[in-house]
């Protein structure tokens, strides 16, 4: 009898202990924390797609910038030609025997001298400078104007020394080089009906 009571009491004790074994309550806010973690993880799972899009967009933008810089660098290497010079009809250049330095000196003449030979000399200087620079496209040859035709006619008939004398400014004799002193004095040009001034 006592043994049965002990057995019964032991069963009750065990049942009570086992019922409490897992009867635990989580700490407050567990469900909220789990939802926050799950949502954060779900957001990270979605974002790789968005991250990939941003990565590809950034790469495309970088490629576009590099390509634009390369194009700008390439175009900067081209001759920055003056549109007025390139577009204006170019007269035919008569090669002179003067060296480039002479050309430069001629180009520095005072602007008051508006003789056609000085203008021609300036054009020679410009063409010489232009020749030093590579150009991709040469200007299209244009027919000479009336003025140019008159000049060409004059130059074809005039002696070379006369042309040279016309191209040089009047300088004091002291500044003349020994070579220039050897050049005989040239008489003034006879005014012709077709002379260009």
């Amino acid at each position: 009898m006592a043994e049965q009571d002990n057995e019964k009491q032991l069963d009750q004790l065990l049942d009570s202990l086992l019922s409490r074994y897992s009867d635990a309550q989580p700490r407050p806010g567990l469900e909220t924390r789990i939802l926050a973690t799950v949502r954060a993880q779900a957001g990270e799972q979605k974002s790789p797609g968005w991250q990939q899009i941003w990565v590809w967009a950034g790469a495309a933008a970088a490629i576009a910038i590099v390509a634009a810089l390369m194009m700008m660098n390439h175009s900067a290497r081209k001759v920055p030609g003056s549109p007025t010079i390139a577009n204006t009809p170019q007269p035919s250049v008569i090669p002179l025997k003067n060296p480039p330095a002479e050309h430069q000196r001629i180009a520095e003449e005072p602007p008051e001298r508006k003789h056609s030979p000085s203008r021609q000399a300036q054009r020679v200087v410009v063409s010489a400078v232009r020749e030093e620079v590579r150009r991709d496209v040469f200007p299209t040859p244009a027919p000479p104007s009336d003025q140019e035709r008159l000049l060409l006619g004059y130059l074809a008939g005039a002696p070379q020394q006369e042309i040279i004398a016309q191209s040089r400014p009047d300088r004091p004799a002291a500044e003349e080089t020994p070579e220039e002193q050897l050049v005989p004095e040239i008489q003034p040009v006879i005014q012709r009906s077709n002379s260009t001034r």
């Binding site: 032991l10 202990l17 989580p26």
Partner: protein, 194 residues
């Protein structure tokens, strides 16, 4: 009748799951319904609030990875219970089988003397800790079945589904486990009281 109620709950859960538009919504529904059950399953194994909550979080993150396949799960409750059970066991895998040692005997020293009532015996936490030690010393198949049976939210059918054993085996194992616990507890109490 209990079987009909269980089938009804399964149908209701499947309806709720099918209404979820995204995997996240499906997981959120599972969290709202089963967090307490999942926690208690984890606690029955880990015996620690902090570890149990970590296991619960890990469980739902695993569930989220299933993505769209969630809607194809036939019995979400049992499926979820199996996941947390596996997660909790993985966390506890480093612990060895507990044996009754000096610590247990020391706990018994704090028990009330012979003749104390059941309420007096249960008032202190020492006896609960002794029981934990005794359950830990059981063979693995008996221990697992007994631990799951202490979770109020699970019945014998669901435990059988989680352990992949017949329902009769669940009852048999529970009987054997209780018998062993009674013997050990009785011997310890007799040793204390002389």
């Amino acid at each position: 009748m209990a079987g009909q109620v269980m089938v009804g709950e399964v149908i209701l859960e499947n309806i709720k799951a099918s209404k979820a538009e995204t995997p996240l919504e499906a997981v959120e529904a599972l969290v709202a319904q089963h967090t307490l059950m999942v926690f208690r399953i984890a606690y029955s194994v880990l015996r620690n609030h902090h570890d149990a909550e970590d296991a619960v979080q890990e469980c739902f993150l695993r569930v989220l990875k299933y993505g769209k396949d969630l809607q194809q799960v036939r019995n979400p409750k049992t499926w979820l219970a199996r996941i947390i059970w596996t997660a909790a066991l993985d966390r506890r895998s480093s612990r060895n089988t507990v044996s009754v040692d000096d610590e247990t005997r020391e706990l018994l020293e704090h028990l009330p003397d012979r003749g104390a009532s059941l309420d007096e015996l249960l008032a202190g936490k020492e006896l609960q800790q002794v029981l934990e030690k005794l359950i830990g010393s059981l063979p693995e198949e008996l221990r697992h079945t007994l631990q799951l049976s202490t979770v109020q939210e699970l019945n014998s059918v669901e435990i059988a589904g989680m352990l992949n054993i017949p329902e009769n085996s669940v009852r048999t194992r529970l009987m054997r486990a209780r018998k062993l616990l009674k013997e050990k507890l009785s011997s310890l109490l007799e040793a204390k009281h002389g």
